[in-house]
Symmetry: C2
Subunit: 761 residues, 2 copies
């Protein structure tokens, strides 16, 4: 019934809005090679399940040493690989660190093998060779032929249920393996505990508890088969256990339904006819097996695989149609794949009955909001959440509500830093939740209590024990002796403090505004006037002598160098420009950044930075400089912003598997593309002003949730018409190279007149 | 409010019934030495918390070999020990296998030590020496002076909350240690995971997941302190972990409130004045931290330690007064300590809001019953549950309801065998749940659906994969080749089948009755007519040649020998007697059993049998022969039953720490005492008939739940008046040495006329 209502609603939506079929422009394989760290599998928008192939069982270390897999295999899938180990149900999209990969399922035929084997010889285990020729990845659908046993594997998903369809050949030894040990960011003891119940010959439920990047994480499942298995069993790969109870009364390895342990793999066995399809549905829950079953009943009652696929693609079309564009085919592929990537994370982390696991490891019920998880905030505060404020304000409201619940449940009384699945891993730096809260409230998106949000921002930013905040408050900067990333931390805190100040101003809390406006100036304390670059500063007030402007390692900056980070004053480019010596010097330094050469040795030790993501010395493949191309506007040289933006759009985003110049970072890279290709960008979230650049599209129509639509039109658009001659908002000239969010909300049209020549005036 | 209502109710009860103060007769130290395996700590009747001292940290193995501690330390406390490690919150009472020991708390002063140290030198750790001279154990209260730091420790409890009171001397380094690694039946990897939140300076919550005798068990807690701690910290004794997240941003060992890991000990630090009392309350929950807090709020709001103690002892008095007796002081001590021991297990396993963890590891809500756990059914079906049918029928109804829920939640569709805390460890043999169900339904105690109960009995008894049931069904016995305890299994199944038959008869299911009445005869298939003993039988139908009647090891009997088990046909002593050769031979053989000598070597390999529990060849310290003394009644020699029973009562139960001749086994040994000392015993639960013996008391008045009371009176009672001259029920002679449960329920008086001489006639 619920499904029918959803369908009916979608049909109505379909009628009220001239939907295009945009799914063909989504290419999930983009970014799966080299640095993108995206996954090619099946998910619905913001779905709790991301069902995707894993091309290797990822280990943290080999021979006792860190082997880099934890970084390379963030998404479980590397386009470069020749084998698939199986299909697991949870994946990060584009991150720079890994986790998840729950409940890996793999179909095989013939001799039962419960080890994955090695990639160099797939006969050693249940993994299979595959070819990209036999692989199709679409929004909400994935298909691949598994060569070893000639099995066609197809995947689709609902919000909380992964749906598998395996086409077997004739055999009395067809198997579906459920690997409870496998995982992304795996190591011997990652799986803390596994519990499985074989309820009957088509239903299996259970959970596993992992100690991975998320320290304490439990995921529950309910798994159903379209056909009863004729037999089943398990192998426990843990070391033999001491005697505990009378388990020996049973043969626990064969057809025994109550299984538990640390290192388990199961198999379910079938007779199959030639071409017989066996379908598997796997529902997840963060709370309980019962809830997983309830999720299954609510979302996936039938066995029509194509029906699930259609439903998933209908959902994608609905979301993708929020922006309709005119552009070249390749640009449409880049655009809609970017849109797809921005609509994956954060993901729904809540059962259909509203229950979810809180940061405090207790079960909570979300009242009046959908709970989300996976907040890669150092990345996503920049453009992803501002993008959501534009096209997904209801969801961003819920995301902010989820962050506030995280705060409520935090014993430390901190907003999330990098949180996923009821944990905070505190990855990266800053307290950028405050930027997301501030931007959402200032743009009218967050419907919760803004005063409480402000209090959460204040508490988080005063957590003296956290990463030098105490020293930062006392001195106005973090001494280099105290912290390896003292400069970037100081810069990021200063920006975040400005965002808090803006929020306080909006809420009439002038006392808070004053305090934080003052803290927002702290970037000046790590600006070395003698060289006019950001530079590590010692406790005695002097700047660190031994210092390198180019190196991204050990110079006081997180994943970046001084050349890039010295531009990180998004809250006040004007003041930064003056500090650097005025508009001319500022622009010249930007020119140098984009035209210099950054030799490999300066970033060799920083995983997140590679040659592919660098233009001159400008590092686009990682986040800290994402606003930099727009800074020319402040220097009175907007045509350079326009040219740089178009260059970056063309160089860093390609419709190929290796098309992304850096980790997509839960959609931040893609959100940059989407804003920039429509001609504007939120340089400083917390401000409702966008900086104008140069649109790549010919036309983009944004369907707003308030019922209005806002259109961007580029007159005389072409690859060579990268410069903007003039801009009209609803027919009136825009002269300050700015666009306000309020104007967008009113609906209307922004018209760029494009030219092959810069409009220097 | 709830507390007030309970108090008010108790006050009314107090008025309506002339209560005696019976708490002084309860001596929890009885059975703590040698084989009793009882614990001396504080609990309320059937309480979810059993807060008790542990005298050693128990390890399963030393130097890679099983060291027996898992058996010796079932209760955590050994009277023989000289040191106390701390006070933990869950304990089995009298079992023959160990588990639990959750959340060990220990007060110390001076230098902080987070290792328990060794018993031979308490200065090596936080453990302390103690003396029994400074130890008081009462029902609901325990006190001991910890000599090392001169700290007085006092314990009491509510149903779900352990209450500690520690009296310190003056120090700026007083500590309360929370050891999350400690446990009974401990080994390195027993603790699968621990999670702790220091919510504020008086509140800590968390949970731990263990893989012990209960394979998958999670216990949650909320712990409050009467005084804010000035600092706190933890040590993680796990091996160093691989990098996972940015935890290094914090000093996790000191004053850091979000803690998790596998091997943790915490400390909370205080300044104390001379004689200052710090109190700690620890609430438990099987479900969540939130529920633990809710339990705390419902049961333990104040800080008046003496108030909790009074409340606990009021509850004990209420329960103990259900039977008022006249007897010697020592007999009263034995009687009320036995009553105390029968009212400990099973324990409440449910939060105040009705939620509990099910066997399926999901959270359930108990509707209309209180959920109980810890069912040591091989022991307790014999006399404990029948005793509950007499004096705790409401609770036994709930216990049966709990067992039915276990069945509902069982993937195997089996009633519990030996279940505790949402797990079945399948310890011992038989499917004696069916006896408990049958007895409760036949005696009108169980208010649930009896037909469903019968179905559960049928399903359990037809579980062909379990311990030879398949062969038993097919052949009528279990071949000795298949199973190491083939004879006792066959005998126990046959009795259980008879119990099912009785239930079926009661419910009018004659089809089922026929089937099971037939199965109940299966004991005959392992009875070797040539020697007239029970004997292992091979698949070919022949009896095993190499066979020893005396040995308790490897002869086909679980924890017993053929001499004892050959009498195990409680469902039909008449038929057994005939098989053995008639009344005379039968009685003579019973005589031999009680008068023979069983040399040590015949039971040296059976932990549960020791010299202390043996009279002649009769093994009272373990359960299988508990009905045997009553069998003389069938042989027409009731005076021998009378003499044997009085002898056992005197020899096997003493008011001393080593007073129990065997494991109390969750109250079964004590229930034997209680029945027998009142002059009757349920030889075959499932029948509503008791066999009469010889009362030890002068008078016993049983207050029944239906408002009636039933009195046993012994005229001319003395130590030498062990024989019964005649018996009157409400003035009418009883000549068949039987008493029916229905007659008891009507209320009235059973009068024994005692004599020094047997009434042979």
């Amino acid at each position: 019934m619920k499904g029918l209502l959803t369908l009916a609603f979608q049909f109505l939506f379909f009628l009220s809005y001239a939907q295009q079929n945009l799914v063909p422009y989504v290419r999930p394989l983009i970014g799966t090679e080299k640095m993108g760290h995206t996954f090619p599998g099946a998910t619905v928008p913001f779905g709790a399940v991301q069902l995707s192939p894993d091309t290797d069982t990822i280990s943290y270390e080999r021979n006792g040493k860190y082997n880099g897999d934890v970084y390379r295999y963030c998404a479980g899938y590397k386009y470069e690989d020749k084998t698939i180990v199986g299909f697991s149900h949870t994946h990060f999209s584009g991150t720079g660190h890994s986790d998840l990969g729950d409940f890996l399922v793999m179909p095989t035929q013939g001799r039962l093998q419960l080890n994955p084997g090695v990639a160099s010889d797939t006969k050693t285990g249940f993994r299979s060779a595959f070819s990209h020729d036999n692989e199709v990845a679409e929004a909400g659908y994935y298909r691949v032929k598994l060569d070893d046993d000639n099995i066609l594997a197809e995947l689709t998903a609902t919000n909380r249920v992964g749906v598998h369809q395996y086409t077997f050949s004739k055999s009395d030894a067809s198997h579906i393996i459920l690997d409870m040990m496998a995982g992304i960011y795996n190591y011997d003891e990652k799986v803390v505990w596994t519990y499985i119940r074989v309820v009957n010959d088509t239903l299996v439920t259970g959970y596993r508890h992992t100690n991975g990047w998320a320290r304490t994480r439990t995921e529950y499942f309910a798994m159903t088969f379209s056909k009863p298995f004729k037999s089943y069993g398990q192998q426990n790969f843990d070391k033999p256990q001491v005697y505990r109870g009378f388990w020996r009364k049973f043969d626990q390895n064969h057809n025994f339904p109550e299984i538990a342990g640390k290192r388990l793999r199961m198999h379910f066995d079938f007779d199959t006819q030639e071409g017989e399809k066996i379908k598997v549905k796997m529902a997840l829950s963060p709370v309980s097996q019962q809830n997983a079953l309830e999720n299954m009943r609510a979302e996936a009652t039938h066995w029509n695989f194509d029906g699930y696929k259609k439903q998933a693609q209908l959902q994608w079309n609905q979301e993708l149609n929020k922006i309709q564009i005119e552009a070249s085919e390749n640009e449409k592929i880049n655009f809609y794949t970017s849109l797809y990537h921005t609509f994956i994370n954060p993901t729904v982390y809540m059962d259909v009955n509203g229950q979810y696991k809180g940061l405090d490891q207790d079960v909570h019920k979300a009242e009046g909001f959908t709970n989300y998880t996976t907040f890669s905030l150092w990345d996503t505060y920049r453009a992803l959440h501002p993008f959501f404020n534009l096209v997904q304000p209801s969801r961003n409201n819920d995301m902010v509500a989820s962050m506030m619940k995280h705060y409520d449940q935090s014993t430390l009384k901190m907003l999330p830093v990098w949180s996923h699945y009821a944990n905070d891993n505190w990855c990266m730096s800053g307290y950028h939740s405050v930027s997301v809260l501030s931007d959402a409230i200032i743009k009218g998106v967050y419907k919760g209590d803004p005063m409480k949000a402000l209090e959460a921002c204040i508490a988080t930013s005063n957590h003296r024990d956290y990463e030098g905040i105490g020293a930062y408050i006392d001195r106005g900067y973090i001494p280099a002796e105290q912290n390896g990333t003292s400069v970037s931390n100081t810069l990021e805190y200063a920006y975040d403090d400005w965002a808090i100040a803006q929020l306080a101003k909006k809420l009439g809390r002038s006392d808070v505004y004053e305090t934080y406006q003052k803290r927002a100036q702290n970037w000046k304390n790590v600006f070395d006037n003698s060289i006019r670059f950001m530079r590590p500063r010692l406790a005695d007030g002097s700047f660190k002598k031994d210092f390198d402007l180019l190196s991204t390692h050990g110079q006081g900056f997180i994943e970046g160098n001084s050349w890039n980070f010295s531009f990180f004053v998004p809250q006040d480019p004007q003041a930064l420009m003056q500090a650097m010596g005025g508009a001319k010097i500022f622009a010249a330094r930007l020119d140098t950044l984009f035209s210099m050469h950054l030799p490999d040795q300066f970033f060799a030790e920083t995983e997140d930075i590679t040659r592919e993501g660098i233009i001159g010395g400008y590092i686009h493949g990682n986040e800290p400089a994402h606003h930099v191309a727009y800074l020319y506007n402040w220097a009175g040289q907007p045509w350079k912003t326009q040219a740089r933006v178009r260059m970056i759009l063309n160089m860093q985003y390609k419709p190929t598997s290796d098309g992304l110049g850096g980790n997509d970072d839960c959609g931040q890279m893609s959100a940059w593309y989407l804003f920039s290709s429509m001609g504007f960008y939120p340089v400083a979230p917390g401000s409702e002003v966008y900086a104008l650049g140069s649109p790549l599209v010919k036309n983009a129509k944004i369907q707003l949730e308030n019922g209005q639509s806002f259109t961007i039109e580029a007159i005389n658009q072409s690859d060579k018409h990268v410069y903007v001659e003039k801009v009209l908002l609803n027919g009136k000239p825009v002269t300050n190279w700015q666009l306000s969010h309020a104007d967008v909300l009113k609906g209307g049209k922004l018209t760029f007149y494009m030219s092959t020549k810069p409009a220097r005036k």
